[in-house]
Symmetry: C2
Subunit: 196 residues, 2 copies
DNA sequence: CCAAATTTTGAATGGTCATTCAAGTTTTGG
DNA sequence: CCAAAACTTGAATGACCATTCAAAATTTGG
């Protein structure tokens, strides 16, 4: 119990330091020493808790995925129609707790390096297919079968693209207006024929 | 002349090898030796031609930007209305010569690391603002003033998002259908009110 | 064909960094 | 209060890698 407690505190501190420091210095060039300094500890203790740098990165990605899943489930519970559930999917991605510059930034960097790390690739794949199936489930209630994929691609691309740009922003993000814009895109995609 | 020729040949070979190898091994972990091997030469010769690894990466990004600019200008020349010019903007990004897995992949990786390299950041910023102003110029002819930014964000996010996903694809890309899908998104965004 | 210029590369250099280790310090449970 | 367990960290280790260099090979221009 007490044993667990300290470990959990360190884990949180180190993951938070990882997010901040990777955003500041870049995934490719960040060092254990820099992360340790941000957390007010030594590089050696990161190895002690996470085994390796890769272990730390994996834990950090899990942390972000957990947050995303949590936001998603919360919104889904409230929604009462396919259309509202699409809103909820978007809202989860643009929720106050996730849609910040450092988090979008580190997310993009994980994304870029996922193909080269089997651990990250696995997490990435699982998340992606979960999001995809949520989209398909709702869209299939709202648009003709032959347009589901087009609509899904449009919505998911939009989501990804906004994150990509958010990651590069110099200013803090306005998550409420991001949600409003996302709702408009949902309306657009579900309200008319998509076929050329 | 002959002097120039050899240098140009090497530059092309090395940049092509860079694209292939970065895609294969990842921007963060690729080594000079790996790129050299792909090009059938030695790491030392890369230093000879490009001065440094960063120089090679910058040259590679310039090469991709040149291709994009070229594709854009070509399409723009043909287009005869704001709507067609929006198509042309999309088509440039999804042209046969650019919309390939390795190129989307390396592009995303440059993107992710641009904030941490002043050289890459500069190129990135210039490109982005050029694309943005093209979008704004055409959209301002097609949608009410207060909706230009929303429409631009939607289109540009979509474009970025599609590239992001393309970079992760296991299969070769279908650029023609990517262009068709992009046209549908353009139609969608320009054909109705966007305000909530 | 020759000498100067250019190109090529194997080996050496130097720096960076994750990881390990051993020696301490702190916390825990009784 | 005590001993064992958990935690911490400075320093050592070893791997990796971009870059440099000097010497050799090739190309060029005359």
């Amino acid at each position: 119990m007490a044993r667990k407690r300290i470990r959990d505190i360190r884990n949180e501190e180190l993951i938070e330091a990882t997010i901040v420091t990777v955003h500041k210095r870049g995934y490719g060039t960040v060092t254990m020493a820099e992360i340790a300094q941000e957390a007010g500890t030594s590089a050696a203790s990161i190895s002690y808790y996470f085994g390796s740098k890769e272990g730390l990165m994996e834990a950090t990605m899990r942390h972000l995925l957990r947050k995303l899943r949590y936001a998603m489930v919360a919104g889904y519970g409230q929604a009462e129609s396919p259309h509202e559930r699409l809103y909820a999917l978007m809202d989860a991605n643009f929720s106050d707790s996730l849609f910040t510059v450092p988090q979008c930034s580190i997310w993009m960097q994980f994304w870029a390096s996922a193909p080269y790390s089997s651990k990250l690739a696995r997490l990435h794949r699982i998340n992606r297919s979960r999001v995809r199936s949520h989209f398909v489930a709702e869209l299939s209630q709202l648009v003709p079968a032959d347009q589901i994929e087009t609509a899904r691609l449009a919505l998911q691309s939009y989501m990804d693209g906004v994150w990509l740009q958010a990651a590069q922003s110099d200013d803090p993000l306005d998550s409420a207006s991001a949600r409003r814009a996302a709702h408009r895109v949902v309306d657009l995609v579900t309200s008319r024929e998509l076929v050329a």
